[in-house]
């Protein structure tokens, strides 16, 4: 119980942020036409690749001879950033098609 309380106190701001961001996320997406569901899913998916920041931080805080951790974090960074880059490029390609049409 004490542990939990300490955790709450230590991460107080983060937990507030968590609550408000959930509301923000709901609010931002609440009215989307179904046309955009696919690109939006793909775009949101790319953002979820933000987890690679953790991989970067982990790599930077690992001793240079701790190969096990470095390799694991390196792979995490690799697969995670495929998600990020691939996701943004693919979303862009989809959305460009909508744009092209508008101009013509």
């Amino acid at each position: 119980m004490n542990e939990t309380l300490n955790f709450l106190i230590e991460y107080e701001i983060l937990i507030y942020l968590l609550l408000f961001t959930i509301l923000l996320g709901f609010e931002v997406i609440s009215k989307v036409p179904s046309v955009l569901h696919t690109p939006l899913m793909s775009g949101a998916n790319a953002i979820s690749g933000i987890v690679i920041l953790g991989a970067i931080i982990l790599i930077r805080t690992t001793e240079s001879d701790n190969y096990l951790t470095l390799i694991i974090a390196g792979i995490a960074l690799f697969v995670g950033s495929i998600n990020v880059f691939g996701g943004f490029f693919v979303t862009n390609r989809m959305l460009e098609m909508f744009n092209k049409k508008k101009k013509s």
Binding site: N6, F7, L14, L17, T21, I22, G25, F26, V28, V32, S34, V35, L36, H37, T38, M41, S42, A44, A46, I47, S48, G49, I50, V51, I52, L53, G54, A55, I56, I57, L58, R60, T61, E63, T69, L70, I72, G74, I75, A76, L77, V79, G80, S81, I82, N83, V84, F85, G86, G87, F89, V90, T91, N92, M94, L95, F98, N99, K100, K102
Partner: protein
């Protein structure tokens, strides 16, 4: 410096996602979010850290490799495979979170005193959700890609099995936290992977988009959990944003199909009664190439209903050709887009956009249903469940209650289809046996090719 950059990137991510919910600004929104992400990555690389080591190669190497790979995949992937693509990407994101949590937990085993227990709990939670997102996405990918075992796989006592698995995972996590032995951790990971498979296995292929969206929000949540551990606000923010957005998107998709999320997860299409299959089906009428061409050519108004069959056959450009041929003869041509046509909402819009079909020609469900009465021919290309009258007439049908396109209200309907096989929901479609319906069998691309050359001869 890095703090300011993180702030900017957080703003860009939120604003980018906001813009992406409006068709006019979606493209800009995606770019903003991408810039936000790049800034976040850059700041993570330069931010000052205690006990930091210069492992720059370990960062730049994987990053540049995956940027190249991601770009190539995104550039070359076919638009029809988009749903599969998203699910694979999502799986990779999940895997990344799993590896990351694993590495952190591994550190905790070596230095047990440097972490609080609650941090370890959060890590294991992130490990679990990430694993489910990973294997779940892979299975969703396999189902969408139509592998042999893509049918629903329901274990006996599915729910009991799920609960047993969950309890095992919780039990082992408890043991692991009290006695940090690495083999327990492996067991937790393996169990979580299996749980992801069991989670997705009983869900029908047609519901995969909903599942992917849900798994996407899972990945978001893991990213947020990892963000708490690393004390990185942008990670927390981005992760939760995706978690919340993914959840809302999932609910929106479920609404489009008139199903509840719970219904989808439990596998709502499993109830197709056997009585249905044996029902008197009557005669189907085929239409010949020339009859079909003539019928279209002398109509006033034609509505095309595209479905997944059009996507698989890559026939969207031919579709546009036929549209132009008809319009040259003053036939009004429109496309009725069902919200869940194809395998992902908006899938058809993307496809038709690729073929340069004018946006104003696409009409949505409600508008289309108002227009069928004044339509001469409704042409259904590779769609099935979205035009099944059972959804309205037959309360025992698994499709019952789903909003559908009432194509049979038009003077005539023609269904382009490869065979008489059932649609994704696995039910027969009484539309095919209606008197004013004709079948035009064949692969959508070949069929449209035949039709197109027939039209040119007129």
């Amino acid at each position: 410096m890095d703090k300011i950059l993180f702030l900017i990137s957080a703003f860009l991510l939120v604003w980018g996602l906001r813009l992406q919910s409006d068709p006019a600004s979606a493209s800009k929104g995606n770019k903003l979010a991408a810039v936000g992400m790049l800034i976040a990555i850059f700041s993570a690389v330069i931010m000052p850290l205690e006990n930091s080591f210069s492992n720059l190669m370990w960062i730049v190497g994987p990053l540049s490799l995956s940027a190249l790979l991601g770009y190539l995949i995104a550039k070359n992937i076919k638009m029809t495979s988009m749903p599969q693509m998203v699910s694979i990407f999502n799986g990779l994101g999940g895997l990344s979170a799993v590896l990351l949590s694993f590495a952190e937990v591994n550190k905790w085993i070596s230095f047990p005193d440097s972490y609080q227990i609650i941090v370890v709990i959060v890590l294991i939670l992130s490990l679990f959700i990430g694993s489910v997102a990973f294997t779940g996405s892979l299975l969703a990918f396999a189902k969408l890609d139509g592998y042999r075992w893509s049918e629903k796989l329901t274990l006996p006592f599915q729910h009991v099995v799920n609960i047993v698995f969950l309890s095992l995972i919780i039990g082992f996590s408890y043991y692991f936290i009290t006695t940090p032995v690495i083999s327990f951790l492996y067991i937790i990971i393996i169990l979580s992977f299996l749980y992801g498979i069991f989670f997705v296995a009983p869900i029908g292929g047609a519901d995969m988009p909903v599942v992917i969206s849900l798994l996407n929000s899972f990945t978001g949540i893991t990213a947020a959990l990892t963000g708490i551990i690393f004390g990185n606000i942008v990670m927390l923010l981005g992760g939760i944003l995706v978690g919340a957005a993914g959840t809302i998107l999932t609910v929106l998709m479920c609404n489009a199909m008139n199903r509840s999320l719970l219904n989808v997860i439990i596998g709502g299409f499993s109830s197709s009664g056997s009585s249905k299959e044996n029902k008197e089906q009557g005669q189907v009428n085929e239409i010949s190439d020339s009859d079909f061409a003539v019928q279209l050519f002398y109509s006033n108004k034609v509505i095309i209903i595209p479905g997944y069959g059009l996507a698989v056959a890559q026939a969207q450009k031919l579709c546009k050709e036929i549209q132009e041929a008809l319009e040259a003869n003053d036939v009004e041509v429109k496309y009725a887009i069902h919200p869940v046509a194809g395998r992902m909402p908006g899938h058809m819009n993307v496809l038709l956009a690729e073929a340069d079909v004018d946006y104003s020609k696409l009409i949505e469900l409600d508008q289309a249903n108002g227009e069928f009465k004044t339509t001469d021919v409704a042409v259904i290309i590779g769609a099935n469940d979205v035009v099944n009258p059972d959804a309205i007439d037959d309360s025992s049908s698994p499709l019952y209650g789903m909003p559908i396109l009432k194509v049979w209200e038009s003077t005539a309907t023609v269904v382009l289809k490869r065979s008489m096989s059932a649609g994704y929901a696995g039910v027969q479609n009484p539309l095919f046996f209606k008197k004013n319906n004709k079948m035009y069998f064949g692969d959508a691309k070949e069929s449209l090719q035949r039709l197109s050359s027939e039209l040119k001869n007129l």
